[in-house]
């Protein structure tokens, strides 16, 4: 079955191997039922936290769910990851191995039509995709001034309330960043301070560069191969 295949790669790279509190004999110390109970609790916890797409810290999992089962941490997280994959089609990914933060990403093949996301989310996702396309087509990194100039063309202005997006600056620089779709880093030695915008880890995992390139090519009426470096990158990351 397909999900078996996919879940195999799981647990190796994303999971916290070599944890300092990893104890190999953990299964002997806890009954399987107790561990499974914690696994279900963790799955529910992750599903609720994921609704807002904010990364989940390991510390919060330990504090709110795993608690006295700290010694079985790796086993519980691995099993929860496997369940999320097999039942919900979601993949638990560690996006920051220093701070141990996780996100859930959708692992199902992209669908077309109206079920992509909730209605309220659709407009925001549209804006996000435009921004991500712009960054990708400009060589994976753009300055803040260039991005706002580009959005200006679409009549989206940072200082003004937008009738759909509300406070656009907040949406772009805070919400998308918190959700790990965008990454904003200060450019050193600039005065006034400038920033560069790049794809965040969630975007890298969830959004296909090939789809982005194809969409841009369609709008411009050109063949995707016209942009050779983007084309080879899109083919490589597919």
């Amino acid at each position: 079955m397909s999900q078996r295949k996919r879940s195999k790669g799981f647990g190796s790279s994303q999971m916290t191997d070599g944890e300092d509190d990893f104890i190999p004999t953990q299964t002997e110390r806890r009954s399987q039922d107790q561990v499974n109970q914690k696994v279900s609790e963790l799955v529910q916890f992750l599903l609720v936290k994921d609704q807002k797409k904010i990364p989940i810290k390991r510390a919060d999992m330990l504090k709110n769910v795993i608690r006295e089962y700290r010694d079985a941490y790796s086993e519980i997280v691995n099993k929860a990851g496997k369940t999320l994959q097999e039942v919900f089609g979601l993949q638990l990914v560690e996006i920051d191995s220093k701070r141990h933060t996780y996100i859930l990403i959708n692992n199902l093949p992209c669908a077309e039509g109206k079920y992509l996301c909730r209605d309220e989310e659709k407009e925001k996702m549209g804006l996000l995709l435009i921004i991500l396309s712009f960054i990708f087509m400009k060589g994976n990194s753009v300055k803040d001034s260039a991005l706002w100039e580009f959005l200006h063309l679409l009549r989206v202005y940072p200082g003004r309330q937008h009738q759909v997006f509300g406070d656009v600056r907040k949406l772009v620089t805070e919400e998308f960043v918190r959700q790990k779709y965008l990454e904003i880093t200060p450019i050193p030695l600039t005065d006034p301070q400038e920033f560069k915008y790049q794809w965040g880890p969630r975007a890298e995992k969830e959004i296909s560069k090939k789809d982005v390139l194809n969409a841009v090519a369609k709008i411009q009426g050109k063949d995707p191969t016209f942009w050779s470096s983007q084309y080879s990158e899109a083919e490589a990351t597919r």
Binding site: M1, S2, Q3, N36, S40, V43, Q44, L47, V48, K49, Q51, K52, T83, E86, V87, F88, G89, L90, N106, L108, P109, A111, E112, G113, Y115, C117, R118
Partner: protein
Amino acid sequence: MAAQMTDAHRRFLQVLMSNGITEGSEARKLHQHCCETDKVYYAHDKLDDFISTINSHLQPLFMQIRKGISEDDGRAHYAVVNLAETEVTKMASDYTEMELELFRKTMDLIILSENGFASSTDILNLADQLKTKKMKKKEAEQVLKVFVEDKWLSEKNGEYTLHTRCIIEMEQYILSNYQDVARKCNICHSLAIQSQVCESCGIGMHLPCVRKYFRGQAEPRCPKCNEFWYCDTPGVSRMGSQTHHRAPLLVVDDAS
């Protein structure tokens, strides 16, 4: 061993969860969409089987896709619920303690009311009585808005009732925590929040159930005591015309 889940099942489950609650015909369309997208066998009359496959995999996680009937229009709806007897604190969202307390108190008002509605004024008056932390009226208004957006409450002309999603999720909790107060519909025997009540014997019925039951009857009579049914003719909205009041004699402490 239960039937295997496919990507179609997973997709269906994902959409159902992100919707919060899904109306029956919407769920049937979604069923077709998922099966076609992921190229698995589709039969239009097999939605129940499709869902029970998902449920067999949700069961170890104490979750379930449950079907419930809307008290407004009598149509079926589906929601993913938590099976471990859902307490207010376990509502599938991360509300603060203060917000949950406001929800609990709002639920008290609604359930203790005669017709299943609580006015926004009454709810907002609760805001500065919260034990966790007092809430400004403005804040409380905002929180109510979120409850409506998240489909825990629904609002009509400034009056609030429990959303179908909330009833599907918390029926058991409400029936056991408001034992003496919560009514069951005399027709369908499930929890009735918005209901018409017999003036002589006190039984309650859902509006859609009332409509169905009295259809084709010359004179509406209570199915239990056979007294004349004094409530407005079904189909005609009772809201707005009727001022709402709390049921008398019921002084119940917090459900907590």
